[in-house]
Amino acid sequence: MTGPADGTARDPGLQPERTRLAWRRTTLACTVVAALAVRQAVRGPATPLHLSAVALTALLWLAFLRTAHHRIADLAAPRPPGLAPRSALGAALFTVALAGMAVALLV
């Protein structure tokens, strides 16, 4: 089997593709949670808390999307660099922020 033109051997485990799809799945999961968060916020009265919750959810969702998008772009390289700790921390903190917002809306 010959490698592609840039001289790198083909990765038979398709690791970058699998990682890209894992980011896609995670983005989908994040979208579902964001939709639930917006539903939670618009069920209540239109108070500043609920309106800012909708705005914050939109921001968090976009930030998550941006992280995933950058990572997917990085994975297109022949030898993808490792995940930056910043991106990992970001993805986790967006999740924690969604949970924190849910607590604020619940109580």
Binding site: D11, G13, Q15, P16, R18, T19, A22, W23, R25, T26, A29, C30, V32, V33, L36, A37, R39, Q40, R43, R79, P80, P81, G82, L83, A84, P85, R86, A88, L89, A91, A92, L93, T95, V96, L98, A99, G100, A102, V103, L106, V107
Partner: protein, 132 residues
């Protein structure tokens, strides 16, 4: 505890992580990344479950409903933070050529999820719902 503080400092310092040992085969790093993402999805599912309990189980008593939602949200947040920590520790172990860190978190999480499921069955069976 001191080790944990060191781990947390690594979360914010990509350079310090890179200073440890040598760079492993990128495929191992990608596998570690996918494991991290799977944990993040688990965390997102728990947070989504917290929203869902509050939104789709209106017949439960307020205390039961909010208590379960808060428990799910707390475990979801914990799961997300622990995912970063475990990712950093695995990455460092691979760079140093050490054994991967072991963890009892998966066992605790599955026991917790099992307990919540049993609690839900009991709540539904005994009809501890709000009076209509």
């Amino acid at each position: 505890m001191i080790d944990f503080v060191k781990d947390v400092r690594l979360w914010f310092a990509p350079q310090r992580l890179r200073d440890e040992g040598g760079t492993p085969d990128y495929r191992f790093s990608l596998a570690n990344e996918r494991t991290f993402l799977a944990w993040i999805r688990t965390a997102l599912a728990l947070v989504g479950g917290g929203f869902a309990v509050d939104q789709f189980l209106p017949d439960l008593r307020w205390g039961v409903r909010v208590g379960m939602a808060l428990a799910l949200l707390a475990v979801g947040a914990l799961c997300a933070l622990r995912a970063v920590n475990h990712w950093v520790r695995c990455e460092r172990a691979m760079r140093r050529g050490e054994d991967l860190p072991v963890s009892r978190f998966p066992v605790l999480l599955s026991l917790g999820v099992g307990l919540v499921a049993v609690a839900m069955v009991v709540v539904v069976l005994f009809g501890w719902t709000a009076p209509r």
